[in-house]
Homo-oligomer: 240 residues x 2
């Protein structure tokens, strides 16, 4: 089953599976029944968000649920599984959500959203962000549901093991230098840490133990541009 | 004069220069005087959009103009000068303008916006797009004003000489293959042609003489994602 990227496949999400049957509930079921007006016998694609995409047909329809029978199964790997993007809340919700969406489309499946000293927006909107992630996963026909963690302070990253890479335009090392170095085993975890408008504070940077600073091109980039640029390069290297 | 990307430099645009004096008019003057509340003696950075950035101070202020005296001049090159991005109008104005903005931030200075068979939006909004381009140029401290041409039909590209590269996910050649090939002299012009939602039609593709088709990663990408992904790779290769 090669997914046809250009065709008008609809991909749905459901984590409820019992042998060769899938149950789709809530908003997803509403979309199938009331928006797309699917009926019994129609064919759908469903991902469990854990690497599988099922080709299935609608076997039964309830008031707010859809039961599908699986007719084909395919497993997909996650080439960027060891990469986590650590993104502060940005001033503009649109730019922030756009960055999230582009990251998912280009293959990032681990996110840490943190509150940064210079972030104008505070607090979390986990439900809203989750919707953006699921929607982008389905849009781009991915089989991996992105995971999102919220942190009140970027120093909580010290609880995680792996390379901590701070994107900082004043650095002498480029992201290219870093990526082409052979000292970075594929099995390690990589945390890419971006600043908000105005950047991370010195205190925040110093609070991240054993960090590495890398820069992108010699341009003043908006936060979301730096994020999308970085995921593009990673995706180009690892995701084929 | 090394521009400090992270500092809060304000860059203005003016094409009116007389020896060592610059005249800034219209919206730019309004921004300087009424929004930023600058006065005589204040220091500004001004680009002429043709490769120069001037450090200057305000010498005189009129009702809707600002006269600056140049105290330092620096010339910048344009590493992506031979590259033109040919972009169809997209269904969403936001996504379209976001793509334009990101392209400018990452160094694209030549645009052709075309009306595509499957474009939902028709007609041009040149004035509006020009504002997006100028704003992104200033935001990212660039010295080159992006040029924009509007085409009713993509086959008008046949009037231009250079490589015509269609981004088409069904292609066997990747953008990487194309970019790493040695058969592409730096002095040639390169036209990167993107499709709208639903892609270019067969007729449109066939109407572009001597085209090359390349694909990006094996993902279904939204139009604006394909655009930003491509400029990221080009920028990473050529813009240092």
């Amino acid at each position: 089953m090669e997914l046809e990227w250009l065709s008008e496949i609809e991909l749905y999400f459901s984590s409820i599976k019992d042998n060769d049957r899938l149950k789709i509930k809530g908003e997803e079921a509403h979309h199938i029944l009331d928006v797309m007006r699917h009926r019994t016998g129609d064919e759908l694609f469903v991902t469990n968000g854990k690497g599988f995409i099922y080709k299935a047909f609608i076997e039964a329809v309830g008031s707010d649920e859809v039961i599908c029978k699986i007719i084909e199964t395919k497993q997909y790997n996650n080439p960027l599984v060891n990469i986590t993007f650590c993104i502060p809340r940005l001033k503009s919700h649109d730019r922030f959500e756009f960055a999230l969406e582009k990251c998912v489309e280009l293959g990032i499946t681990n996110f840490i959203i943190f509150e940064s000293a210079r972030s104008v927006s505070k607090g979390e909107k986990l439900e809203r962000w989750q919707k953006v992630l699921i929607s982008a996963m389905k849009q781009s026909l991915h089989a991996w549901l992105p995971q999102l963690t919220y942190m009140k302070n970027v120093r909580e990253l010290n609880n995680f093991t792996g390379f901590k890479i701070i994107l900082e335009q004043a650095s002498n090392t480029t992201l290219n230098n870093f990526l082409s170095s052979s000292q970075h085993p594929v099995s390690s975890n990589y945390y890419f840490i971006f600043g908000p408008e105005g950047g991370l504070t010195e205190k925040e940077i110093n609070s991240i133990e054993n960090h590495i600073k890398v820069r992108l091109i010699k341009k003043r980039l908006r936060s979301e541009t730096a994020i999308i640029y970085t995921v593009s390069l990673l995706s180009n290297l690892f995701d084929h």
